[in-house]
């Protein structure tokens, strides 16, 4: 079961690994990112952030879909992290049983000037492409929220559009 699908433009960092993993009670973390899946250096540095007691994989988005379709995935509490809304949408389209999508941090480091993007919150600044993915995502049956850290209130993304 995917307990949380997090969009974070920094992928795994201290906040995510330490705090959210514990809060969610996740037993496995999967980074679904095409670039990271081809980059052993990034895989190594991402792994440093993951607690030793937690299983960890870096997959391309397509390979992640295959992984989550494995029936054994239902027995685990899996925390999935992607770095853009488009990848979250791809997973939601193709994988059943995602409990929640959390748009935490997005669009800050994509190289597109902020003047050409829409700022939905301090840490959510989306290009036109990402905005259209988000609009489709909030129409899916999976709840789409934003919550950077657990003690912040969870906000429905629809209210920010």
């Amino acid at each position: 079961m995917i307990v949380d699908l997090r969009v974070d433009d920094r992928l795994i960092h201290g906040q995510v690994a330490l705090i959210w993993t514990k809060k969610l009670g996740a037993t496995g973390i999967v980074v679904a990112n095409d670039k990271a899946s081809q980059d052993p250096v990034q895989q190594m540095t991402l792994k440093m952030a993951v607690p030793n007691s937690v299983k960890f994989l870096v997959k391309s988005v397509q390979d992640a879909v295959d992984l989550f379709r494995n029936p054994k995935a239902a027995d685990m509490k899996i925390f999935v992290i992607v770095n853009k809304v488009a990848d979250a949408l791809e997973l939601v389209r193709n994988v059943e049983g995602i409990c929640r999508v959390n748009i935490a941090n997005a669009g800050r480091f994509d190289g597109i000037p902020e003047s050409e993007k829409k700022k939905l919150a301090n840490t959510i600044i989306l290009s036109d492409d990402e905005m259209s993915c988000l609009k489709e995502l909030v129409e899916s049956k999976v709840p789409v929220v934003t919550q950077v850290v657990p003690d912040h209130p969870e906000r429905d993304m629809k209210s920010l559009l």
Partner: protein, 137 residues
Amino acid sequence: MRKIMIAAHGYLAKGMKHTLNLLVGEVCPIEVINAYVDDSDYTIEIEQFLKAAESEDEVYIFTDLYGGSVNQKVTALKLKFDFTLITGFNLAVLVAVALASEPLSREQLNAVIAESREALQVVEPEYSEQQSDEEFF
């Protein structure tokens, strides 16, 4: 309620609180002592903090250096007040204590400290094969 004070030389406590809030949000009240940045007597502030605590509160003071003067002064206050004093703090131990879901027993606290101590280490790049899907499940 859990109450935390960070007491350190200079502005380390202020900076540590800022970093902690950035990482975990404001999960519990955190007071800071920036010792020796002016001539004021910071022990008065520490005493006020301890006096204000209720008996059911879980009170921690973190100091920067074992043997340092801040820690010496706080150690002396242990004779008058009931609180947990931890010295030589790092970010890992502050995060772990701030985020603990239940009050920590002494044994749990020792485990948290042992784990946080491991965060202090020499880093060497280390490539390893990823787990297979089967190992993951």
